[in-house]
């Protein structure tokens, strides 16, 4: 059926062309013999071919162009009064006798052109007359073309400022009025074209309709070219009238095209100054209009405008462009809930580009844009649309490129949040982009001169955070990322290491856990990423800290690695990390407070180790206990030593439960507490609080409960008596805290006794 239609159309077009040529031939003859009557007759007949309804717009245009060419010759003839002897005024009257309206109008316009040029009537009046008479053709296609003809021939005859038609014959206002009217009517006709025909036919019609859009748009182009249309006129007359038609026509095809046209055709300064009006029209458009593309293009234009010269930037600030644009975008995204992710993000990319060009120093604006993007992304599950993720990468790359400095980008609080929404593949892409950025600017970082201390810290903390965002599902890839980042942080110099090494270490430890979870034989190629390899890398990374130096940090990290090795059943690796920790303690940690913390960490970690064989465990325990007893202050010694008692008693079923050594520890702690009391007596004349003793008492109770046979009720009794004696002695200093502590401990004992059962019986043996 379609083929037949196409064939038919070809036939009709051919017929139409033939008709035109036929009549044109006779028209030429008439022109040559100066026969006006005949010329009019044949030209009218020729123009009748344009009365057809059978042609598609494309073909109709073909026909129209042929007629157009012929009318040029006719116009030349009309102009030459000498040839036909009729005044232009009379000619204008004469052509109105043509039988059919369409030929009549074409002829009228042609004469009108001559009429205006002759200046025998004011341009404005002729134009007004013509534009109103065209009203008679309401058929969309034919009407569109005849008005287009009018527009074409009137183009150079508008009473613009500085034109020969200006003055009493007309002003710019008249010119504008004429074009606006023609535009409005043409748009109405164009919009009406969509209402014909059903379903699939309509689709075809839409396409055809689209081909005609430039006829309508040309009017806007003309308006932009009129010299007399300054900002004032644009603002007061042109834009409001155009927007009125755009909004009122309620046609999405037209609205989209015309909004875009306005943006492309009129100067950027005008857009800046009318931003509110322009943006205000957006919510009024049909919901099916792809307004985000329109807005994106507007912002792209404004961005380029901003980039063109620094002089224009103040204007942007003055009109509060950023605020208006981000509001408008927010509204659009809010109302169009079904907008796909890629659309919203494209908008934000445009806005971000705009912001970076116009307000590069306003990091808060940049962050706002990212924040709005996060908000939109939060409402959708992980992005799986490749175009959308591409846009997100563009969004995240823009600040990097602008600021040429990864760290500034990272101070944007919303930056990591946007990354949170990326799928793993894209995160990998992003990670590479960021690393490349670090690489590119590495020389800048390391040669940076005196950086403000706080700023430096902030920057480095940002880098540390970044490292957590570099994540890849593939272990090999993740390992590569860690190695790459390490290389670059190393190149940054020792000052940076304390900030970045911990993040690297924990990234690596997470990777170890991931690998441990992927247990099982891996068939085929070698798998370079193994826990062992990563622990080797970790050892090196922690060693890097010695260049700073940062022994306390290195110790903490070593112990974390030891625990991880323990979980992976790697006894030797764990032992090595403990060795590393002890060496750091012995050789580099001198501060007494730091030593106490270090001992707590060593003992606490060791207590949880279950991977060590007896020998290794003994060695490490012995060392730990030794160091505990040699801390500077006696109370610290005492506490550390009784903490060590737990090294000999682990509560799970396979754990060591060496009651004797526990007791030995506690007794040693007691001796230290005693010594502390004596020293206090000597140094200050009075003994210290009995707190330490009460603590040890509590430990006795702890192991007593757990069933350590070496600790008897009698021993506990003895300790209680000791405490009471100490409290009542002459040199005792009353201390409410230790009194309260003792009281609550005694309450605890009572409580246990009253429990009854085995526990109650046990505690009964403590005679109070």
């Amino acid at each position: 059926m379609m083929i037949n239609e196409a064939e038919d159309e070809e036939k009709w077009l051919a017929e139409g062309i033939a008709g035109i040529q036929h009549n044109a031939f006779y028209m030429h003859r008439a022109l040559d013999s100066n026969n006006l009557r005949e010329a009019l007759k044949y030209s009218a007949q020729m123009l009748s071919e344009l009365r057809t309804s059978k042609l598609s717009p494309h073909k109709y245009y073909d026909l129209y162009m042929r007629a157009f060419d012929e009318l040029r010759k006719l116009e030349i003839f009309f102009k030459d009064e000498g040839k036909h002897g009729v005044s232009v005024v009379d000619l204008y009257e004469l052509v109105q006798h043509a039988g059919n309206i369409l030929p009549r109008l074409y002829l009228l316009c042609t004469v009108g052109s001559v009429y205006i040029k002759s200046k025998e009537a004011p341009a404005k009046e002729v134009l007004k007359d013509l534009v109103e008479m065209c009203h008679a053709v309401q058929h969309p296609l034919r009407g569109l073309f005849v008005r287009s003809y009018l527009a074409q021939i009137s183009r150079d005859k508008l009473p613009d400022i500085g034109s020969e038609y200006e003055g009493d014959d007309g002003t710019v206002m008249d010119a504008v009025e004429f074009v606006l009217q023609n535009f409005t009517e043409m748009n109405k006709l164009w919009v009406r074209m969509q209402h014909q025909g059903p379903g699939r036919v309509r689709e075809k019609q839409e396409k055809e309709r689209n081909e005609l859009r430039d006829l309508v748009g040309k009017n806007l182009h003309v308006l932009s070219q009129i010299e007399g249309v300054d900002l004032e006129m644009y603002k007061e007359t042109v834009l409001p009238r155009v927007l009125e038609q755009v909004v009122n026509c309620k046609d999405d095809l037209s609205q989209y095209y015309l909004m875009d046209c306005i943006i492309q055709v009129f100067p950027d300064e005008y857009h800046l100054q009318t931003l509110e009006t322009l943006l205000g029209a957006c919510p009024q458009l049909q919901p099916t209009v792809d307004i985000k593309t329109v807005l994106s293009r507007l912002m792209d234009r404004l961005s380029n405008y901003a980039a063109s010269s620094a002089d224009v930037l103040p204007e942007f600030l003055q009109v509060e462009a950023f605020g208006k644009l981000s509001n408008a975008i927010g509204k659009v995204i809010e109302t169009q809930v079904d907008m796909p992710a890629v659309g919203a993000i494209t908008l934000y990319v445009s806005l971000l580009t705009f912001t970076l060009r116009v307000h590069p120093d306003r990091l808060d604006y940049v962050d706002l844009v990212l924040g709005a993007c996060v908000k939109k992304l939060s409402n959708i599950p992980k992005l799986d649309d490749s175009r959308a993720t591409k846009q997100v990468v563009a969004l995240l790359s823009a600040p990097l490129e602008k600021y040429n400095d990864i760290v500034t980008a990272l101070t944007l609080s919303n930056y990591p949040r946007v990354m949170d929404h990326l799928d793993n593949g894209t995160n990998k892409v992003m990670a590479m982009v960021i690393i490349q950025s670090i690489m590119k600017n590495n020389t800048c970082i390391s040669t940076a001169d005196k950086l403000d201390e706080d700023d430096f810290k902030d920057e480095q903390n940002s880098v540390a955070r970044l490292i957590h965002m570099l994540y890849n599902n593939e272990p090999e890839e993740m390992l590569k990322i860690i190695c790459t980042v390490r290389k670059h942080t190393m190149a940054g110099g020792p000052k940076r290491l304390p900030f970045t090494v911990p993040s690297l270490v924990f990234s690596a430890l997470r990777l170890v856990r991931q690998l441990q979870g992927q247990e099982g034989d891996i068939v085929g190629e070698e798998v370079p990423a193994t826990p062992k390899k990563i622990f080797q890398l970790l050892t090196q990374i922690i060693e890097d800290l010695s260049t700073v130096p940062s022994p306390e940090l290195a110790l903490r990290l070593s112990l974390q690695c030891a625990e991880a090795a323990n979980d992976g059943d790697l006894e030797h690796v764990a032992y090595e990390f403990f060795t590393q920790a002890f060496v750091l303690y012995e050789e580099e940690i001198a501060d007494s407070k730091a030593q106490v913390t270090a001992i707590h960490l060593i003992v606490g970690t060791l207590q949880r180790m279950n991977v060590f064989g007896v020998e290794n465990r003994d060695t490490l325990t012995h060392k730990a206990t030794g160091y505990s007893a040699r801390l500077l202050k006696k109370p610290d010694q005492c506490r550390a030593v009784y903490a060590c008692s737990h090294l000999f008693w682990v509560d799970d079923q396979d754990g060591v439960k060496d009651g004797e050594r526990v007791l030995l520890c506690l007794k040693r702690a007691l001796r230290i507490a005693n010594a502390a009391q004596q020293m206090a007596n000597v140094a200050r004349g009075s003994s210290g609080p009995v707190t330490l003793f009460v603590e040890i008492l509590n430990k006795y109770l702890y192991f007593f409960e757990k069933g350590n046979q070496q600790i008897t009720g009698a021993a506990i009794q003895g300790l209680i008596e000791l405490i009471n004696t100490e409290k009542q002695s002459d040199s005792a200093t009353p201390d409410s805290a230790s009194d309260a502590f003792l009281a609550s401990t005694m309450r605890y004992i009572q409580f246990q006794r009253q429990k009854g059962g085995i526990m109650g019986e046990k505690f009964e043996s403590i005679k109070l």
Partner: protein, 190 residues
């Protein structure tokens, strides 16, 4: 009704980049009367952030804290309750409830808030209540492979405290609550 936020072990930036956004949006200034922080923030930025939520901020020292001047432990009275704070790396064995009970007796408090293990716990014993708000960022911990970000909000009203625990599980915030009452005759909570 007095709201007390118990939070800690964020390990920013060494083990985590930031608080989860869903938590951040819940923690608004002006709603909380006291903040108790178990430690391991680790940087001043986090301290400032908490201060902006509530000026009455109490922090104890974690082993990774940048600022080593935080105290090892702290006690304070809120309404009818005495609270104690301690990071917990000093109490060995780590996470051992009996050893923590000893600390509680030593500090003579009704509620002991402690951290380090990154595991939420709310435990009642003869001497009182031990609360571990977990890690607010879900930071890496050697104690467990599965750290869900969590924090605790205590509503202290007379002799009663309601403990709300907020946990982020699979991207959703789940809330649980536990009631504790203190009888005025004894000095400890039951």
């Amino acid at each position: 009704m007095v709201l007390v936020l118990a939070i800690g072990d964020l390990h920013i930036p060494h083990r985590a980049p930031d608080l989860p956004p869903k938590f951040k949006s819940m923690l608004v200034p002006g709603k909380i009367q006291h903040i108790i922080c178990t430690g391991n923030l680790c940087i001043k930025e986090v301290h400032d952030y908490f201060k902006s939520l509530c000026p009455d901020l109490h922090v104890t020292r974690g082993e990774c804290d940048e600022d080593s001047r935080y105290p090892e432990n702290k006690t304070l009275t809120i309404g009818q309750f005495k609270l104690g704070i301690c990071h917990g790396h000093q109490v060995i064995p780590w996470g051992d409830l009996d050893s923590l009970a000893m600390l509680q007796r030593q500090l003579d408090v009704d509620i002991l808030v402690t951290g380090h293990t990154h595991q939420f716990k709310a435990y009642k014993h003869e001497g009182g209540v031990v609360i571990n708000p977990g890690s607010a960022t879900g930071a890496y911990s050697s104690f467990t492979y599965d750290v869900n970000p969590s924090f605790v909000l205590m509503d202290i009203d007379g002799l009663r405290v309601v403990v709300y625990v907020y946990e982020l599980i699979d991207g959703e915030v789940k809330v649980d609550k536990i009631d504790f009452k203190k009888t005025s005759t004894t000095r400890s909570a039951h």
